[in-house]
Symmetry: C2
Subunit: 412 residues, 2 copies
């Protein structure tokens, strides 16, 4: 039997009506001959309510107990989902993470999956049952309940699809796919039919919030075809899959914007081996995620060093560099808040020239000043003033014709 995994997020199962709508979709897949495994999140605002309940009793609740508490949200959804399917005349059975042996490490609130027991699910599918699995949760080797942290239910779904050898992992959400750019900013953004894992990873890491990079990484590692689609409409969404030659015909697949960033610079650091390592070790210990590191030699003895952090990490980052300042003999620290990063992403960049030129040209023409530039193999990012960021995204999108679908662009 061909298996399909369908993941429904919290807004798609928020109330009885929405659970029934999701259940009808599941039944449709069953009628098309698939064995269906559903992964569901906690209903609507349930998790927020539980967090509020916890904080009322303890401003700093132990993480193990938080996981014990929050995992009930998904457990409720899956049993209700199974009941809905039964009421519609279909055999269904719900499982918690523990019940399908979703084994994780013991890092409560951000656990990593170690293994999945697919047997129990196969057995139920073979009996003709629809299987509903609680997303976001697992157990460690001592049967403590763990949760997977942000994007956890997506990760559960993709991991299950891999473990079960599913044809496809469908991610039902409140948008109908992945767009070339954020449609709230670039009005004419086009929905993509497909995108490679690597592009999606860059998109996700650089501001496109449709899927958490972690679940995309899982999909890439185990070659799971991921289909991001709308839970309210019947249209096809976006397929996230491995690279195929035709994808390279498109130079730029999408563009992203990341706001609320800050740049920290260390001016006049002693230019000796090990100093950069010292600085970033300090930042890592402070759990600051660092991006766009740029180091330039200003003299044989001295170097300037800068990097970008998200606004929420700025204070921790400042503290961390202040404590290391004297040790690396830094003359001065500067901070530039209110910057944004505009990025273009596309695996076609590997084989096409002139992408950077086109991007910088579009920004220059629109009089957007570029603070700094960083690149990866399939991405070019420019740091710009935050209040110029939306304009920047729009001109870049126009330059790369991101209002057209990739099919239209690869033909042209």
């Amino acid at each position: 039997m061909k298996i399909i995994v369908q993941k429904y997020g919290g807004t798609s199962v928020a109330d009885a009506q929405k659970i029934r709508r999701a259940a009808r979709r599941v039944i449709k897949a069953v009628e098309n001959g698939f064995g269906v495994v559903v992964v569901a999140s906690a209903r609507g605002k349930q998790t927020d309510q539980l967090i509020a309940d916890a904080l009322e009793l303890n401003p700093n609740p132990p993480k193990r107990e938080m996981d014990q508490l929050l995992s009930t949200g998904e457990q409720q959804t899956v049993s209700l989902f199974a009941m809905a399917l039964e009421a519609m005349g279909h055999d269904a059975i719900s499982f918690t993470g523990g019940q399908i042996r979703m084994l994780t490490d013991s890092s409560h609130t951000k656990a990593r999956i170690k293994s999945i027991g697919a047997e129990r699910i196969h057995k139920q599918l073979d009996k003709g049952k629809i299987v509903i699995v609680a997303g976001f949760q697992g157990i460690d080797k001592d049967e403590n309940i763990t949760t997977l942290g942000r994007g956890g239910s997506d990760t559960t779904a993709v991991a299950l699809a891999a473990a079960l050898g599913a044809e496809e992992c469908e991610i039902y959400t409140d948008v109908d796919g992945v767009y070339t750019a954020d449609p709230r900013i670039f009005k004419n953004a086009a929905k993509m039919d497909e995108i490679s894992y690597n592009e999606m990873l860059e998109m996700a890491s650089f501001g496109a919030g449709v899927m958490h990079p972690r679940s995309v990484e899982f999909g890439k590692k185990y070659d799971v075809k991921i289909h991001v689609r709308s839970s309210s409409e019947e249209t096809e969404g976006t397929i996230i899959t491995h690279e195929v030659p035709r994808m390279e015909g498109v130079i730029v697949s999408g563009a992203t914007i990341q706001k609320d960033m800050a740049k920290i610079g260390l001016v006049g650091v002693d230019n000796i081996p090990g100093n950069a390592a010292k600085i970033f070790a300090h930042l890592a210990r402070a759990k600051v995620i660092v991006d766009d590191i740029i180091q330039t030699e200003v003299s044989p003895e001295k170097a300037n060093l800068s990097f970008v952090v998200s606004g929420s990490d700025l204070n921790a980052a400042k503290k961390a560099v202040e404590t290391i300042k004297d040790e690396v003999n830094c003359d001065r620290i500067f901070v530039r808040e209110d910057i944004a990063e505009v990025s273009v992403i596309g695996i076609g960049m590997r084989t096409h020239y002139g992408v950077a030129e086109k991007m910088f040209g579009a920004l220059a023409e629109a009089k957007v000043n570029i603070d700094s530039i960083t690149t990866s193999e399939i991405r070019i990012s420019c740091a710009v003033d935050e209040d110029q960021a939306e304009k920047a995204l729009n001109v870049v999108c126009a330059a790369f014709e991101l209002d057209k679908s990739s099919q239209q662009r690869s033909k042209s």
Copy 2:
């Protein structure tokens, strides 16, 4: 280390304030040198809300899924309870039924406990932790979540106390103990200091709702000292324990009333062996709980047979006897609704005469007509008109001086 089990019902943990109050009690026991294991129910109306959510999706939800759903209520309470204790500076850890290997059979919604894994709890107590266990729930051998049905959390608590060899199992509730009679009906009812398991079983089965008979049976079987007491007041409650000689000095320990009963009679049944068995087998298959069976021979060929059922079972019972009527050659079926049973209970009855006389005398004097009488070794029950039931209880209580504590009465 001496261990104490404390059970808090839904009203005792309904909100953050009440959870904190319960937590303070727990800490007091810890400060008195006890290892404390807490058993907690779902918060206030959580279970009702979950049942409503289920029925909205499925008027007849599968029982396995109901258990999967409802068990989240207790899981939430125990994690919140542990968080509250941590906030007050005490190490605590919460467990679901599954996590402590509360193994049950697979009768969903009314599972029976088969075994308990006490090790994990002992290990945590030895580390100095307070252990919080979700009441009402277990798992079967396939890790399906089960629930124990009515009185389930009390049963969890008493069973845990037995498995752990606890000194005492404290049941915290919204009344401050077991009374000689329902104080809402007999205003001057006295709180009992102690009561034997057998008396409590008769009290519970015959209308005193403080504890479910099942948990008392567990206590009796494993000789667990049960202490029923108030969660809001500091007073001592009622100890349920094994019989001691001084208990026999009291002739009647308490009186109960059971309303909304009905009597069904089969008139002129063929008086041949096996007919009664056939009738009650039918009723058992219909899951009707039958009480007070009376059979009288009216001729060598014919017998009359009657029994009492609760109002909620009446329709099922009627249907069951209608289907067997012809087979046992019954002339006529009669039903008497709106009856109540007034009972007096006391292990002293075994060694004292005149209890029945005194009861019947009191009822006669008050002009309460007795429909039928049944007795056990330590109980006498009279079926009376429902609208005379409260008067009946009051005159019986007065006759046996149930306004006085058992200590006062045994001295007199």
